[in-house]
Subunit: 179 residues, 2 copies
């Protein structure tokens, strides 16, 4: 536990410092670290508390490479020791609520990214949804059934270097009471 | 700043403790606190770094009540001193990427909820999207143009009481390498 606490910082700093990390060392990521990220994911809010998310942890080198070779935006998988695929079970969401799987899985994904930053892991959100071709590759690699939709693949590993943090503060995006 | 740091906890604890808070005291929320939440929101990742989000801070009692009276799932607005509406600008997302406004705004929303928890504010995600009737109410209250889609309204205030945290850890949702 010592190592984990070493990296702990307050939430506002972690939110501000989170960045996309695309280069990873060969140092393996302990399964306990992955569990911490998955606990964070499942602590996310979900519409009507349906928790319609599912997670696939990929450590199989062939599967990581399979996706990394076929999805240009997920090339980092070729270097990553592990990845988490965040999926939604669309059968949980009916009628007008159908698109809530995207909302819920996005919230869970953000929790994973923040938890990764807080324990010193590098991570990056690589979108599967809404791209039919990328989703097909993830389906082929993981064997998920048709009712399970992959939102994204998150490569994970210890960062090779300090990556820059983008300043995205745009006060002009804030409106008061009225557009 | 003192008061803010009093509430600071490590990120994993804040993620685990975040809960939906639906009852608020009449204590006003300082605009500096709202700015902290909006900074957190804009620190979220976004597809192709498009940052297609917009935020409406509502403090106008009539507008808060207008939405609270018309959207059953957002009744808490009748009690809340302030709310943030998280919106997506769909003109930023073209072709196959169109649905990314939902993804990006959901990540920004989760950051707001975690930042609120970390500074001692109560908050709850009340969905506007994907519900046509709720979105129409938010549009009427705020005057957002047609290309701006409201994802959710987040009532905010100091919590009346300690709200329980749900244990949503479901290890059966974790799959290894293969479904």
């Amino acid at each position: 536990m010592r190592q984990i606490y070493t990296f702990m910082k307050d939430t506002l700093s972690i939110i501000a410092q989170r960045k996309s990390v695309r280069h990873y060392t060969k140092i393996p990521v302990a399964s306990e670290q992955i569990d911490i990220l998955l606990r964070a994911a499942m602590a996310a809010p979900s519409a009507k508390n349906l928790q319609g998310w599912e997670f696939i942890v990929i450590t199989d080198r062939e599967k990581l490479d399979y996706i990394g070779e076929r999805v240009a935006t997920a090339r980092m998988l070729l270097m990553a020791p592990v990845a988490i695929v965040v999926c939604g079970n669309v059968t949980k969401y009916t009628g007008e609520s159908q698109m809530n799987w995207v909302v819920d899985c996005a919230a869970a994904t953000e929790n994973i990214l923040l938890a990764a930053e807080s324990v010193g892991l590098g991570a990056v959100w690589t979108a599967s949804y809404p791209y039919a071709d990328r989703m097909a590759v993830v389906r082929a690699a993981t064997g998920i059934p048709i009712e399970i939709m992959p939102l994204c693949v998150i490569p994970l590993g210890y960062p090779v270097k300090d990556e820059p943090v983008k300043d995205k503060w745009r006060p002009e995006k804030i409106h008061y009471n009225q557009w």
